[in-house]
Point group: C2
Chain length 316, copies 2
């Protein structure tokens, strides 16, 4: 479906339920809430599905849009959902319009508005609302700024294009509080999270001339810092901040004595092959596995194949 | 001077020395190097002044532009320098063109191209080069992306406008390596710096129901982490990452037994008044002073006036 088709499809209907994906992030929530807000401005009934996994930071931004108990809907629309496995239960086969930017979108929607060249669904929804409602409100600009900025790591990731910055310029022009939202989403952490970061940074270990950096997160560290699962966003990215490394490992102790392993890499080592040795998988630059051992022992098991892969890559 | 005037002034001359400010940052260096590169493309002789305080991260980007010993110049141009106190010695009264975005620019230049509405000199130089040379190269796009992104804290600060994002879009279109440069300048740190951050986060202290957050950096911590002055960029911003605080204090022990204090605040407390109590000064939201005592004692001296100011602000 083209953008104009999708805008027409929405214009012709009423009574929308908008679905966000499992473990919802800023893009799925901000884009869905913006679509909901714009549909309401057009006098339509529209709600967000009450995603049970929303983290506290997002609640004040999307609360007013969530479907109250007892309300009905006629048309299900998904935003930023790539495959049925990321759906709320019970919606398989019922999505009439899927709005997405993932190249891997499985085509589950009756209609699909897909643009895999966009950093975020927020970029797509910005254009969709222009076609649908002639422009966005200040509130919608805030929601879309959350979508675009969080999905690009604050404009730092490789998915950022000229179009991403043009979208951000349009959001700033429409009144988005870029500084306040950036502070909230990129520079504000609980004391517990910072205490855990402190322990992680203090305990970083380096191997193979600094090409491998490892971070161990034990249950003891988690308890000492007092963090909850909401504080654990993206902890696997922290050892990757060390300059000069090629591979970073995060080893997180599970309650049952096993260790959850995250591997991140630059171009030299395909870490999905390492993860596969331990029954895991993922991408060449980001993969994971679970090892039935405590973190220190798991690290001992991971180092030999990683060092061999680095040696074989021949750039050392 | 208008932008067109400045472009004409540069076009009519040859033999430029471009000055950057004391403790040079990404904006002064990236903007100055871009101007130098564009002037050279026009067949002119142009060099950067060999600023003795350049930190290692910037060297590979600007090395080729630096004035070799023995070379002469005819016209001095300053970039991102607000006042003569930030000059290299010996250039007072010799700057023929000052390019700047600081509202406080003291007017020291014979000619001045000033736009205080810009986040960075990079935004101004981008337009200047368009007028001067018709556009920028890939290399210049990288240099200006360093300028704009570092002066805005990666698009997070309050100085960001629609124009900032439009400039970034233009740089992306011209081939700037936005992802690689963002990684280098915002997500890459020495192990020593991360070890120090670890100690700082682990040792954060909270007072007055969490409204005051304090970080103490002792000489012992600096030695243990093995950091150099190059690793100390912006450490005063770290305690400000704690959610819910109003005032953050960074206390850094000096070699002579005194303590360097940085105060940061939101809207409720004017910390320049607190700093003034101890002979310091600055802005309402960011100020500093030096106290003749070790950090713990200095903290004891700072807390009563800060708590009184918070109580008087009446929002607690």
């Amino acid at each position: 479906m083209t953008l104009t088709d999708a805008a027409g499809w929405l214009s012709d209907r009423d009574g929308f339920l908008i679905l966000t994906h499992a473990r919802p992030d800023g893009d799925t929530l901000g884009s869905a809430a913006t679509l909901c807000s714009a549909l309401r401005r057009l006098g339509k009934r529209a709600y967000l599905f009450d995603n049970p996994e929303i983290t506290p930071k997002f609640v004040p931004f999307i609360n007013e849009f969530v479907l109250p108990g007892g309300e009905s809907f006629d048309h299900a629309v998904s935003v930023d959902i790539a495959s049925p496995g990321l759906f709320p239960q019970g919606f398989e086969g019922r999505v009439e319009l899927a709005i997405d930017h993932h190249p891997s979108n499985s085509g589950f929607g009756e209609n699909t508005l897909l643009d895999a060249g966009r950093s975020s669904c927020g970029e797509i929804v910005l254009e969709l609302i222009a076609a649908l409602a002639g422009g966005i409100t200040k509130r919608e600009a805030d929601l879309l700024f959350i979508a675009v900025s969080t999905d690009t790591g604050c404009f730092q990731y490789a998915n950022v294009t000229e179009g991403t910055f043009l979208a951000a310029a349009e959001l700033a022009r429409a009144g988005a509080d870029t500084a306040g939202l950036s502070r909230l989403f990129f520079r504000t952490f609980t004391r517990a999270r910072l205490a855990l970061e402190g322990e992680i940074y203090s305990g970083l270990r380096a191997f193979h001339n600094g090409e491998i950096v490892a971070s161990v997160i034990t249950l003891d560290m988690v308890r000492r810092a007092g963090v909850t699962e909401n504080d654990m966003d993206d902890v696997a990215a922290l050892p990757g901040r060390v300059e000069g490394h090629q591979v970073s490992i995060t080893l997180r102790e599970n309650e049952n004595g096993t260790t959850r392993v995250s591997l991140r890499s630059g171009a030299r080592v395909n870490v999905s092959k390492i993860a596969a040795l331990f029954g895991g998988g993922g991408h060449a630059m980001a993969s994971g596995c679970t090892i039935k051992a405590l973190p220190d022992k798991a690290l001992d098991m991971l180092l030999p194949p990683l060092e061999a892969a680095l040696d074989a890559s021949g750039e050392a």
